[in-house]
Amino acid sequence: MPEITNVVNTLEERKPYIALKQKVKGETFLACDNTSIAGAMSQRACVYSGARVALNPVTDAVHLVHGPIGCASYTWDIRGSKSSGKETYRTSFSTDMKEIDVVFGGEKKLAKAIDELVELYKPPVVFVYSTCIVGIIGDDLEAVCKDASERNGIPVIPVKSEGFKGTKSDGYKAACEALKVLIGTKEGDIKSPYRINLIGEFNVAGDVWLVKPLFEEMGIQVVTSLTGDSTTESISQCHIAQLNLVQCTGSMTTLAKWMKEEYGIPFKKISYFGIEDLSIALRETAAFFDSEEMKQKAEEIIARETAKIMPEIQRIRSRLEGKRAAIYMGGAAKALTLIKGFRELGMEVVIIGTQTGKRDDYLQISYEVKDGTVIVDDANPLELAELLVKQNADLMVAGVKERFLAYKVGVAFCDFNHDRVVEFEGFEGFLNFAREMDSSINSPVWKATKSNISDSINANNISSKACKSENIPVTRIDNIHEDAAITRGMEA
C-alpha cells in the first residue's frame, strides 16, 4: 500500500500518487500508470503526443497528421532534435480535417493527401498519425495506407495514435509499432564486426554527436540511433546490430524487446548522461563484445575525457554543493539518471516525479533517493508549486510548462526536454549541464525576486552607507498629493 501522506494539499483521489520516502516504512509503492483525473490539471499530453515525440525525429520522413489543424499546429517543429541530413521532419503536414470530412469520412482526402505529398516531397516513407476524431468517425487508416503504399511504391505507415485511446505511453507503443514495419526491410551494410543501435535517443540539441564518436572510437559501428537523427535507410537495416542500447526505456523498451524476439538482438538499459552512467554504458558495451582491445579503448576514452572536463566540473561543483534539486520528467529513465548526475555535482534531489513512470520505475527511484524526498506521479502545477516551496528546492529540471511555474515561486529552472539548445549527453554534454546548473542557480536574479524597494536603504553594505537614512536630513514633501492630483487632472 502506498504510504498516504499529507505531503501536499491535493485532491483525495490524487493522494496515492504522491509519497514521501521514509526509512522505516520500507519500499514505497506509488499509484501510477493510470489515465489522468478529469480537472486535475495533468502536465501530460495525449496518445498522439507520445507517438509524435517518439517518431518525429526520423529526419527524412513525411509525418502527416490526419486530423483537424490544431494537432499539427501545436506540434510543428517542437521536438528540438537535430539532423545531420534531411530536414523534412521539421515541416508540419496536416490533412486539416473540416466538418465535411467529419461527416462524410476523411479516407478519400487522406489518400489524396498522401499522393500529393509523395509527389511533392518524394519521401522514402510516410507516417500517418491518427488523431482523436479519426478514432471516432472510424476512418480505416490501415486500408488507406496499404493502398497508398502500393500505389506509390514506398512504405506508408499508419500510426495508431487517437488522442483519447490511452495515455502518452500508448503513443510510444504506437510509434514503436510503426518502426517495426520499417526494420529489416533492407539488407544491412556491415562495416564492423561490432554493431549497435542507440535506441531511445532523440538527438535533442545534437546529443548523439557527442556520444556516437565515443562508440566509433571503440571500433563499433552505430547502425542507427532511434529516432534522433535517423533516416528511413538506417532504420530499415538496424536489424544487423548485435546489441541494442536503450536509453529512454519508457518509450522504446517495447521495440527493443521485439527486436530481441524477432532478430535475437539482446538489449541493455543505459544512459549517456553523467560521468558515472556514461562510463558504465561504454564499459558494458565493451564487456558485451568481450574484446580486450575494446575494453582497453573504453578505459582510455573514459580516463582521457574525464580528465578533460574534471577540473572545470570540480570548480563548478564547489559552487553547487548542497543545492536542492527537483526533477519532473516525462519518463523515468531520465529521472533516474539525473539523480546520479546531481550527485556527481554535489547536489541532492528533494522532489522527483514523472508523467509516465511505471511501478518498477518508482520502486527503483525510491531506492536511489534519500529519505525525505517526495516522489510523485502525474503531478499538476498546484502540487508542484507547493512542493517546490515546502521542499525548499533551489532548482527544478523539467519541461516548458513547468519553467514559468518554478520561476514564479523564485526557483531556478533547467529544461531537459525539447527546448534545450545545448547538449547534455556525453562528457562535454555533462560539462554543459554543470555550467547550466551554475548559471541557473547562482544567478543574482534570485536575490532580485526576493527583494523589496526599501531594501536598498536598509541594506547594511558599503555602497549604501553613504546614503544611510540618518545621513539624510528628514524632509517631507508636503505637496506630493497635490502634485499627483494635478497630474491626474491633466491626464483626465
Binding site: A40, L64, G70, S94, K98, C132, G163, G166, P381
Partner: protein
C-alpha cells in the same frame, strides 16, 4: 511548388479552442475546462507558455476511450468538481474540442444536470462555448467565447438595468498585454479612469508581476460585475473590423447600446480614428498630452520617411493586426507587396482594398487570405519583399530566403518580450516605425558590410571609394 489541394503544410492557424482560452483568460477569476482528450489542453498550455512566458493552467476533462463511447458527462462533471475544489474560480469556461463535438455530448444539458446536482456550483458561473476544432480557426474561437461571456453575464440578472454612462470596449482579436495597457491608458485619460469597461483584459493575467507566489489564478481580467453591467453602457466600441464583433452587435440589438466599430489603433490613421471616435462619444476634446504624442509620432515619421518609402514588405498574421500594419505601412510610403491574414474573414479584403485605393501606389499588392506557410513561402518568392512582418513561424522563410523578419503578433516562440510588444496608439505606432526602420538599416548594414568584405577579398582595384561601410551611405 505545385498546387496542393488536400494537405496543409506548416499551418498559419490554430484551432478554435485556443481562441476561446485566450478570451477566458481575460476574465476575472476564471478557469478554462477543455472538454476533450488530455492532449489538447497540454498543447495549448505549451503554446501559450512559450509565447507569454507565464505559467498557463488549462484544465481538461481528460476524455478516454470509455468517455468517448459512453459520453463525456461523467468526466465533464468530475472535471468541474475538481477544478472548483482546487482552483476556486468564479467562472469556468467549458470549451469543446473536436472529440467532444463528434461524440455528440450535449454540454448544455450536462451543465444543467450538474447545477442541479451540485449545491456548491451555485456560486460558480459555468459558461459553455462550442468550439469544434474542425471548424474555422482560433480567431473565430476568440469571438465566439467573447460573445458567450458577454451574453451570459448580461443575461444573468446580476446587474440591474440602471444606465451607467460608461463605454464598452470589446476586442475582436487577442492582442498583447502591453497593447491592452496602452489602450486602457488612452481610455483612462480620454474617457475617464472609471468610465469604460474593457473586455477581455489579459494585461495582468498573461503578464503577471513576480510576487514570489504561485497564484492559482492570476489576479486581473475584466471584473464580472462590469461585464454584467455592459448592457447599461452609453456606447460600445468594437476594436477590429474584419469580422463581426457579435458581442457588441448583441448589446446593440438587445439593449440598445449604440456600437461603433473601429480598426485596431495601429498606425497614424487608425489611431486617429480611435481617438476621434472617443472624442465624438464623450463630446470632449482630445487631451493635449495625446496631441503631443501624435506630434511626436509625425515627427518620427518625417525622420524615417526616406528609409521606409518604397520598401517592399510582406505582412502576415491575424487579420486585425495585419490590417493595422497594412495601414501603417501605407501611410509611411512602404510597398506592402504581400498581405496575408492567417484566416479568411468577411471584411478584410474590402477594408484593405479601400485603404490601398486611397494611396497612389507604385506596386502591386497581393492579398491572400488563409494560406499555409508553404503557400505563403511561394507567394513571398514571387512578391520578393525586402522585409517580413509577422509571427515567429515565418522564421523558416526568413532564414531560407535571407529576408529580415520583424516579429509581432502570436505566436512568438523564439524571442523574448512578445507580451510586451507595443504597436497600438501613437506611442505603439512610433515604436513600430522605429523597429521597422532599424530592421531595414541593420539589413542594409550587413549587406554593405558583406559587399565590402567581398570586394576586399577579391581585391578589386578602385573599390576603395565604395568600401566605406554601410553607415556612411545612410544619412
Amino acid at each position: 511548388m505545385t498546387e496542393r489541394n488536400y494537405t496543409t503544410v506548416n499551418p498559419c492557424v490554430m484551432c478554435q479552442p485556443m481562441g476561446s482560452v485566450m478570451a477566458f483568460k481575460g476574465i476575472e477569476n476564471s478557469m478554462v475546462l477543455m472538454h476533450g482528450s488530455q492532449g489538447c489542453s497540454t498543447y495549448m498550455r505549451l503554446h501559450l507558455a512559450h509565447h507569454f512566458r507565464e505559467p498557463v493552467d488549462i484544465a481538461s476533462t481528460s476524455l478516454s476511450e470509455r468517455g468517448a463511447v459512453y459520453g463525456g458527462s461523467e468526466n465533464l462533471k468530475k472535471g468541474l468538481k475538481n477544478v472548483m475544489s482546487r482552483y476556486h474560480p468564479k467562472v469556468i469556461g467549458v470549451t469543446t474540442t473536436c472529440l467532444a463535438e463528434t461524440i455528440g455530448d450535449d454540454v448544455g444539458r450536462i451543465l444543467q444536470e450538474f447545477r442541479e446536482e451540485e449545491k456548491d456550483a451555485e456560486d460558480v458561473h459555468i459558461i459553455s462555448v462550442s468550439t469544434p476544432s474542425y471548424e474555422e480557426s482560433h480567431a473565430t474561437g476568440y469571438l465566439r467565447a467573447v460573445e458567450a461571456i458577454v451574453r451570459y453575464f448580461t443575461e444573468s440578472g446580476v446587474s440591474k438595468d440602471i444606465f451607467n454612462n460608461k463605454l464598452n470596449v470589446v476586442l475582436g482579436e487577442n492582442i498583447a498585454p502591453e497593447d491592452i495597457r496602452e489602450i486602457k491608458r488612452i481610455l483612462s485619460s480620454n474617457v475617464g479612469p472609471r468610465s469604460f469597461i474593457f473586455t477581455p483584459d489579459t494585461s495582468e493575467t498573461f503578464d503577471a508581476p513576480m510576487t514570489g507566489k504561485a497564484e492559482k489564478i492570476f489576479p486581473g481580467g475584466t471584473p464580472l460585475a462590469e461585464i454584467a453591467d455592459m448592457k447599461n453602457c452609453a456606447a460600445s466600441i468594437g476594436l477590429g473590423i474584419t469580422s463581426d464583433n457579435k458581442a457588441i452587435d448583441y448589446l446593440e440589438g438587445k439593449y440598445n447600446v449604440p456600437a461603433k466599430r473601429v480598426p485596431m489603433p495601429i498606425g497614424l490613421e487608425y489611431s486617429d480614428r480611435f481617438l476621434a471616435t472617443l472624442s465624438e462619444i464623450t463630446g470632449t476634446e482630445v487631451p493635449e498630452m495625446y496631441k503631443k504624442e501624435r506630434g511626436r509620432l509625425i515627427d518620427a515619421m518625417v525622420d524615417v520617411h526616406k528609409y521606409l518609402y518604397g520598401t517592399r514588405v510582406a505582412i502576415y498574421g491575424d487579420p486585425e493586426m495585419v490590417l493595422g500594419l497594412l495601414s501603417l505601412s501605407l501611410e509611411n510610403g512602404m510597398y506592402p507587396v504581400l498581405v496575408s491574414p492567417s484566416c479568411k474573414t468577411p471584411a478584410f479584403k474590402e477594408h484593405a482594398q479601400e485603404r490601398i485605393d486611397r494611396m497612389n501606389l507604385d506596386c502591386d499588392v497581393k492579398m491572400l487570405e488563409g494560406l499555409d506557410f508553404d503557400a505563403f513561402n511561394d507567394a513571398v518568392k514571387e512578391a520578393n519583399p525586402e522585409m517580413l512582418i509577422g509571427n515567429s513561424n515565418g522564421k523558416y522563410i526568413s532564414q531560407q530566403m535571407r529576408i529580415p523578419l520583424m516579429r509581432v503578433g502570436f505566436p512568438i516562440h523564439d524571442r523574448v518580450g512578445a507580451q510586451r510588444i507595443l504597436m497600438m496608439g501613437y506611442r505603439g505606432t512610433m515604436s513600430m516605425i522605429d523597429r521597422i526602420t532599424n530592421t531595414i538599416l541593420e539589413a542594409k548594414d550587413i549587406e554593405l558590410e558583406e559587399k565590402w568584405l567581398q570586394k576586399k577579398e577579391n581585391n578589386i582595384p578602385g573599390s576603395c571609394c565604395d568600401c566605406t561601410p554601410a553607415h556612411a551611405h545612410l544619412h
